[in-house]
């Protein structure tokens, strides 16, 4: 099974609140069901992405970390 990612964001080095703001902007461009992936280095982004997903209703389908880089995958919610 392969799922394509519609948009990939490089948010490495950015501090709060820019990772979420750039993600929110990019999510607006997606169609329902499409996926966005984001790479960040701000440790605060771990809880921020979780909270943003919960409040906005766009599911965070994956969250991981590799060598200090966090990777998040969000799915645009159905309209």
């Amino acid at each position: 099974m392969s799922i394509t990612i519609a948009t990939s964001l490089d948010l490495k080095g950015l501090s709060c609140p820019l990772p979420i703001i750039k993600t929110a902007k990019a999510m607006k461009e997606l169609a329902p069901g499409q996926l966005l992936e984001a790479f960040a280095t701000d440790p605060g982004s771990v809880s921020d992405f979780k909270a943003w997903a919960k409040v906005t209703g766009n599911p965070l389908v994956e969250a991981g970390e590799d060598g200090g880089v966090y990777r998040f995958v969000l799915r645009k919610k159905e309209a």
């Binding site: 990612i5 080095g13 709060c16 929110a24 992936e37 995958v73």
Partner: protein, 180 residues
């Protein structure tokens, strides 16, 4: 840009249904009363984040909070000598803000801005631009403008119509309300 994941997505992370708790509100209003750098900065961080979370967000700028909205190139505002003196003592513009503590005649803000740049924190100026892009309502207080002699053309572009306390409190109805 399209990338293919090498493994299926696990649908377990936080794929919980969104619970709309009764206390969860979709509006945020911040009363920006202080004009200092270390107060305006978090105000703009919270406002842009609120808008990015889909909340209808408003900042009501009142008293000292109005001065950061003065155009940076305008040195003196006001019509009479008292208003002018006030502007001289308290220069407007988001590039000329002071810190509420450890200002050290401007050395404090300079160091703070240096640290922010190093840590890729957006400046108040950048955050104001983002706030406008995200549709944050930026409302100047009419009464403060009159009292301090600030004219509409002294203030930056992209603001909404100046308004009073009633409009601000009406916007605050059912909203998360912060006074900074």
């Amino acid at each position: 840009m399209s990338v293919t994941l090498d493994r299926p997505l696990t649908e377990t992370t936080t794929d919980e249904p969104v619970e709309k708790k009764p206390e969860q509100t979709d509006k945020l209003i911040i009363f920006a009363w202080s004009g200092e750098l270390d107060k305006i900065w978090p105000t703009l961080i919270l406002a842009t984040t609120g808008a990015a979370m889909g909340k209808e967000t408003t900042i009501f700028f009142t008293f000292w909070g109005l001065f950061p909205l003065v155009k940076n190139e305008i040195r003196v505002t006001g019509e009479n000598w008292m208003q002018k003196m006030l502007a001289v003592m308290n220069r407007g513009g988001d590039e000329h803000l002071k810190l509420s503590k450890m200002n050290f005649a401007g050395a404090g803000p300079a160091m703070m801005k240096h640290l922010a740049k190093e840590h890729h924190v957006a400046s108040p100026d950048e955050l104001l631009t983002i706030a406008k892009e995200l549709g944050v309502h930026l409302i100047p207080c009419q009464m403060t403008m009159d009292m301090m002699g600030l004219k509409r053309e002294d203030l930056i572009d992209g603001l909404e119509e100046p308004a009073g306390a009633t409009k601000a409190l009406a916007d605050a109805q059912g909203a998360i309300t912060l006074f900074i």
